[in-house]
Assembly symmetry: C2
Homo-oligomer: 326 residues x 2
């Protein structure tokens, strides 16, 4: 399982490799939320999402021979790009198993990073875990899971280290930290980092309506699944259920989950365009949507929203802007 | 006139007030440009453009009584917002003279920052300088000019200090620094900063076709005007002619000007969306357009493009994405 020591070690390996992304803000967003909102812009990370951190942390933790044989990952697209980019930089072959209905931009980018992309039928019920495990066995590849691998979670935890430091520079030590949540790797890693470096901040996982497995799992104290794997525009964070390890960490450290609608995520994308000048994908905007439109869910004077990714097809983005003329 | 000492002093006053914006990059952009491209994302600055730096530097340099009486500025929109935001933070009344055909977003934002907006007819030939001077006299306001005020230029020069430091962290000490150029305040301030802190970097002002007054002035050794004040989509950088002081600085320190088409600026906006996840306005994208599409204009292995602003109306942005499906 990921630990704070693993996170600190991963942060050292990431130094100079991952970008230190800025904490952005806008008085207009503060006015909407009725409190201070800081946005950790991980869409500006290499490959357009925080997943580069976990990919790099995992690849850089492998031994020489393992790295030489290659890695395999399954992903709706952001973990795919993160692992593919890290593998390319480490001169490691990468196979990525992606759902056939993933955004075209994500599939194209993953291929452009030199990875071999294998598509599977998510909607029809094929299991990416089974497809991935079979290929790993067949070719001797190391499986880099998106949120169960402790090194991946440790890499994502570097976001928490940066939040603690950057917020302290602004004089902020107390905050709700809203995090877009699929399997929970970023939320868990960040929670561990904050436990040590910003103990008055608390992670709040945010999910889209109908895919709130983490919120229901945290509320009930046991892992709950989603009835469906598609049907939300937030493709990046549609997982079947929380990871066992991430759930264990978040049960101990996170506050209750927060749920937003797809429409709120789209509205948050348009506002991030207008007020922050950043590009968010729907699944990367649910944290900001929660800060803006689920005000009662939070206690602190400040919400720090981790905007996790920006890999959105232009047509989806244009549609978001059309729905919210300013 | 602005000096390196004024820039260093302004940078101290800006510390903790202006954002240190990131240097972004993408292997896809490098491939298009045929060299390394680093993008200084000043669209992420407060108020969505670098102009906040100059506004803050000028306001913070005023004496108590001058500040209390208020300031006036004329601007197509970004200097307006920069001065208005800085004035608000200093509790100073601000009057902003803006062209009636400025983007709606910029006019709205300036009003939202508490400034009184006075519109004038740019296309019909009204002079903003005359409108501004008359109001300044009438109300006892201090005029904060957009690129002749030495404190404003000093504030913009803090971009150059950051570029020198951030590039050195990446091991880069030699580069062409492409800068979107209207009156030349940012280019001049940056050139002065680089002269001391990165002497192997050279500023290259970039302008839209038909509005290349700085390029022609630099080539001929004397100030040349543009025949028109409208007719390009790059509203932020359509000035009549270079400032006297900025021209003097750039004559000494800058390389030849670079000219791009509106179509190239729009293409650069779409690529910045896709590859960097940032929002650029047309006038803020000409530097990146030059790096990508005017390759023969540059000598160095690296071009650092200052992406100066992101205050673009959503319809213009949507149109840019429509013209460049990936």
């Amino acid at each position: 399982m990921a630990t704070i020591e693993k996170i600190e070690a991963a942060a050292k390996r990431l130094h100079g490799k991952a970008r230190v992304t800025p904490l952005l803000s806008s008085p207009d967003l503060d006015a909407i939320a009725g409190r201070r909102v800081l946005v950790k812009a991980e869409c500006l990370q290499h490959t357009g999402s925080f997943k580069f951190r976990g990919g790099w942390a995992a690849l850089s933790a492998l031994g020489f021979h393992q790295r030489k044989r290659g890695v395999i990952a399954y992903s709706s697209g952001n973990h795919a790009q993160g692992v593919a980019a890290a593998a390319k930089a480490h001169n490691t072959p990468a196979v990525i198993v992606m759902p056939a209905d993933a955004p075209k931009l994500k599939i194209d980018n993953t291929r452009a990073l030199g990875a071999e992309v294998v598509l599977y039928d998510r909607v029809g019920g094929e299991s990416r875990e089974e497809v991935g495990a079979a290929l790993a066995e067949e070719r001797g590849l190391t499986l880099v899971t998106p949120y169960e691998n402790p090194e991946v979670v440790a890499g994502q935890g570097s976001v928490g280290l940066e939040i603690a430091r950057q917020a302290a520079e602004l004089g902020i030590t107390q905050a709700d930290v809203a995090i877009c949540c699929g399997g929970g790797g970023l939320a868990a890693g960040t929670a561990l980092a904050l436990e040590k470096y910003a103990p008055h901040m608390r992670v709040r996982p945010v999910e889209p309506q109908g895919f709130d497995d983490m919120a229901r799992s945290l509320a009930s104290g046991e892992i709950k699944s989603n009835p469906s794997q598609s049907g939300s525009i937030c493709d990046a964070i549609l997982t079947v259920e929380p990871g066992e390890n991430t759930f264990a960490i978040l049960s101990r450290l996170a506050g209750p989950g927060v749920v937003v609608t797809d429409a709120q995520a789209i509205h948050a994308m348009a506002l991030a365009f207008l007020r922050l000048k950043i590009v968010l994908e729907p699944g990367g905007a649910v944290s900001l949507a929660a800060a803006l439109f689920q005000q009662d869910a939070f206690d602190c004077d400040t919400v720090i929203a981790v905007a996790t990714g920006g890999n959105v097809d232009p047509t989806v983005f244009q549609s978001a802007l059309s729905q919210h003329p300013f």
